[in-house]
C-alpha cells in the first residue's frame, strides 16, 4: 500500500494527526488551564475569594456541617427504587436515610472545602452491594457555613473535565475519544521523529522571515521537539491514569475473580472492617486522631497537613476514620493513610511503605496531576501545554498551506474545510473559554441554573465561531487567508478586555487592588493572563491583516519540499 516505511509513517502522522488534532487542541489547551483551575474558580465565584484554608477542626466545624448534609434529591429519585427491596418493608424517606460515610477534601489552593456523605439505604435488595445515595456540599472552613453549591466552578468543574472528557459524558464517549487522541499523540510524536531525519538540528532551527510555509514547519518541528518529553509524558500518563478504569479494566472484567480474591486478602491484612457490625457506637474525638496522624507523619520525616478525611461505617462499632496527607510538598501523590477506630481513637492500621511499582505509578500520575506547591513548575506546565497547542495548530496550518494552491486549481473544498475547523479549534476555542467568563460576570449571581447558561454561552460561542469561519472561508478556495482568523482575533481581544473590566465593575477587585493595595493573586493572575491574551490577539490580528494585503498582490510561495509529506 505504501511505497516505503517512511511514507507509511508520514501518512499516519498527517491524517491521524489532522483528525484527532482537533481533539488534542482541546486536551492541551484546557489541560494548561487546569493547572490553575482553582484560581479560575475564585475569579468566577467572587464570594469565595479568600485565602486557602487548612482542614478545619472536626469537632467544631466539620461534625455540625456533616450533620446538615442531605441525600441528593435527584440521586434519591433515580436510585432508591433500584436499591430498596419493597418486599422487606416500606421505603425510607430521603431526609431519614442514615449516614454511613462522610468525607472532606481540600488542597493547598482551596479556600472552600468540599464535603460529602454516603447515605445507607435500609432494607436493600442486595446486602452485599454498596447501597449508597450521596449528598455533597461546599463549606466555608472558617465558619462551617454552607457555600452555594448550585454555582458552576468554571475552572475545576468545566475546564478541568473538558481536558480529559470533553464534557461529553454519554457512555463515557468523551473519555474514550480523548484516549484515542492521546494514543495518536504518542504515535504522532514517534512518526514525527521518523519523518524528520535532521532531528537535532530542529532544536535550533526557526527561520521566521523565509517562506511562511517553511517557518510554519520550523515552528511545528521546534514546538514538537523542544517539548517532546513533555508531550510524550502527558499523553502517556494521561492514558495511564484512566487505563485501569476505562481503557484496560481487566481487573473488573475477566480478571475480576483474581482481583476480588486479592481484595479479601488485603482487607484481612489491614484489619479494617469491610461491613457494619450492626451495633451502635459513639465517635471519639477526630481532632485527636488528626493530631496523632500529623505526629506520625512528622515522625516519618514527612510532616504535613490533612488533605483527605473519611469516616467509614458512621455510628457503628465497626466504624473507622481514615486520614490522608495532603500532597502539596512532593510530586508523588502519597496519602500515607492512617486508620483509627472511630469509637476509641486507637490506631488500627498504618498504610505500609509502598512497593517500587506503586511508587513509580504514584510519581508518574502525580507528575501529571500536579497537586504540589511549586509555582515555577506549574507555570512550566502551562508553557508546555501551550507549546503543544502551537505544535498542533501549526500542523493544521502546514496541512492547509501545502494543499490550498492545488485545491484552488482543482476546485477541491478540502483545505477550505480544514482551515475553517482550524479557526474553530484555535481562536474559536479561546473565544468560547473567555466568553464563558464574560457570561459569568454578565449573568446575575442569583439566576436559577446560572451554570447551565454559562455552559450554553460556551458551546454557543464555539458553534458561532465555527459558522463564522465557514461563512468567511471563500478566500481559502483562491489560496488566500481566511479573514475569520483576523476577525476572531479581534473578537477574542475584545472579550478578554471585557472580562477584565466586568470583573472590576461587578466585584470591585480591579488590578490595582489585587496586585498592589490588597494582593489576591488568583484573581490578579486570571486578569493579567486575559490582558496578555488580548495583547497577543491584537498582535496576531494586525500581522494577519498585513499578510492578507500581501496575499492579494503577490503569488503565495511554493510549499517547502524538504520533507515527504503525503
Amino acid at each position: 500500500m505504501f511505497a516505503s516505511f517512511r511514507l507509511s509513517m508520514a501518512w499516519l502522522h498527517t491524517w491521524f494527526g489532522l483528525v484527532l488534532g482537533y481533539v488534542l487542541m482541546a486536551c492541551f489547551f484546557f489541560g494548561a488551564l487546569s493547572v490553575f483551575d482553582r484560581e479560575i474558580d475564585r475569579w468566577a465565584l467572587p464570594e469565595t475569594r479568600f485565602a486557602p484554608q487548612p482542614m478545619p477542626s472536626f469537632d467544631a466545624v466539620l461534625a455540625p456541617a456533616f450533620a446538615r448534609l442531605e441525600a441528593d434529591p435527584a440521586e434519591y429519585a433515580a436510585n432508591i427504587s433500584a436499591m430498596h427491596d419493597a418486599a422487606k418493608g416500606p421505603q425510607t424517606p430521603r431526609l431519614e436515610l442514615p449516614a454511613d460515610e462522610y468525607w472532606a477534601y481540600t488542597t493547598h489552593r482551596d479556600p472552600v472545602l468540599a464535603i460529602g456523605a454516603g447515605f445507607r439505604v435500609p432494607l436493600p435488595k442486595d446486602e452485599e452491594d454498596h447501597n449508597h445515595i450521596h449528598g455533597n456540599a461546599t463549606i466555608d472552613p472558617r465558619t462551617g457555613d454552607f457555600v452555594r453549591s448550585d454555582q458552576l466552578r468554571i475552572g475545576s468543574q468545566w475546564f478541568y473535565p473538558m481536558h480529559y472528557s470533553l464534557n461529553w459524558n454519554w457512555k463515557n464517549l468523551g473519555i474514550f475519544t480523548v484516549g484515542l487522541a492521546a494514543l495518536v499523540m504518542l504515535a504522532a510524536l514517534v512518526t514525527g521523529v521518523i519523518m524528520h531525519r535532521k532531528f537535532f538540528r530542529e532544536f535550533f532551527t526557526f527561520r521566521p522571515d523565509r517562506h511562511s510555509q517553511r517557518s510554519l514547519l520550523d515552528l511545528h518541528n521546534l514546538s514538537g521537539v523542544v517539548a517532546l518529553p513533555f508531550h510524550f509524558f502527558f499523553a502517556f500518563t494521561g492514558l495511564l491514569i484512566f487505563a485501569g478504569t476505562y481503557y484496560f479494566p481487566v481487573s473488573q472484567f475477566q480478571l475480576k475473580p483474581l482481583h476480588d480474591r486479592h481484595e479479601v486478602i488485603e482487607a484481612r491484612e489491614t484489619g479494617l472492617p469491610h461491613e457494619r457490625a450492626g451495633i451502635p457506637a459513639t465517635l471519639a474525638s477526630v481532632d485527636a486522631m488528626m493530631a496523632e496522624a500529623r505526629r506520625r507523619w512528622a515522625a516519618r520525616d514527612m510532616a504535613g497537613e490533612v488533605g483527605f478525611l473519611q469516616l467509614h461505617h458512621f455510628g457503628d462499632a465497626n466504624g473507622y476514620v481514615s486520614i490522608y496527607r495532603a500532597g502539596s510538598d512532593r510530586v508523588a501523590l502519597v496519602g500515607e493513610g492512617m486508620h483509627f477506630k472511630a469509637s476509641t481513637g486507637e490506631l488500627l492500621h498504618e498504610d505500609p511503605p509502598r512497593t517500587a511499582v506503586a511508587e513509580t505509578n504514584e510519581f508518574l500520575t502525580g507528575l501529571h496531576l500536579q497537586h504540589f506547591e511549586h509555582w515555577l513548575l506549574r507555570w512550566l506546565y502551562v508553557l508546555g501545554g501551550l507549546l503543544g497547542c502551537v505544535c498542533i495548530a501549526t500542523g493544521f496550518l502546514f496541512f492547509v498551506g501545502k494543499r490550498k494552491q492545488q485545491h484552488a486549481r482543482a476546485g477541491d473544498p478540502g483545505s477550505r474545510w480544514v482551515d475553517a475547523l482550524a479557526v474553530t479549534a484555535v481562536t474559536g476555542m479561546v473565544i468560547a473559554a473567555v466568553g464563558m467568563l464574560v457570561a459569568n460576570r454578565l449573568l446575575p449571581a442569583d439566576l436559577a441554573g446560572k451554570g447551565d447558561w454559562e455552559k450554553l454561552a460556551f458551546w454557543g460561542l464555539w458553534v458561532l465561531a465555527l459558522l463564522h469561519a465557514l461563512v468567511r472561508s471563500a478566500p481559502v478556495a483562491q489560496a488566500r487567508i481566511n479573514p475569520a482568523w483576523r476577525e476572531q482575533c479581534w473578537m477574542l481581544a475584545s472579550l478578554a478586555v471585557a472580562a477584565v473590566m466586568l470583573n472590576a465593575i461587578t466585584t470591585g477587585d480591579h488590578l490595582i487592588k489585587t496586585v498592589f493595595t490588597d494582593p489576591y493573586w488568583p484573581v490578579a493572575g486570571v486578569d493579567l493572563i486575559l490582558l496578555a491574551t488580548a495583547a497577543v490577539a491584537v498582535w496576531a490580528a494586525r500581522k494577519l491583516a498585513r499578510r492578507e494585503r500581501i496575499g492579494v498582490t503577490m503569488k503565495s510561495p511554493q510549499p517547502a519540499a524538504e520533507v515527504a509529506h503525503v
Binding site: M1, A187, Y247, S251
Partner: protein
C-alpha cells in the same frame, strides 16, 4: 496520498484501533495473571502491565501501518488477542484452583 487506496487504509485503521486495543487488552490481562501467578502483588502486577500495555498498544498501532500485508496485521492482532485473553482466563483458573 495517491498511493494509499481508501479501503486498504480504512482496514489498517480499523486493525490499528480496534485490533490493537483487543491485542493490548489481552496482553495486559495475560501478563497481569502471569505475574500474579508468580507471586507478585496483584495491583503491582496490574500497574506494571498497564504501563507496558500502553506501550504495546503504541507499538502495534504503528506496526499496523508499517507492515507490508494487511492480512498479516489482522492475523497477528486477532490471533494474539484471542491467545492472550484465553491464556489470561486459563492462568487465572489455574491460580484460583
Amino acid at each position: 496520498m495517491s498511493p494509499a487506496r481508501t479501503p486498504c487504509v480504512a482496514l489498517r485503521s480499523l486493525a490499528a484501533i480496534i485490533g490493537g486495543w483487543a491485542f493490548s487488552w489481552g496482553f495486559v490481562a495475560c501478563g497481569t495473571a502471569a505475574l500474579a501467578g508468580l507471586g507478585v502483588e496483584f495491583h503491582d502486577a496490574e500497574i506494571s502491565l498497564l504501563m507496558l500495555g500502553l506501550l504495546v498498544f503504541l507499538g502495534v498501532f504503528l506496526w499496523s501501518f508499517a507492515a507490508r500485508s494487511v492480512s498479516r496485521v489482522f492475523a497477528v492482532l486477532v490471533g494474539g488477542a484471542l491467545f492472550f485473553n484465553g491464556a489470561a482466563v486459563l492462568l487465572q483458573r489455574a491460580i484460583l484452583s
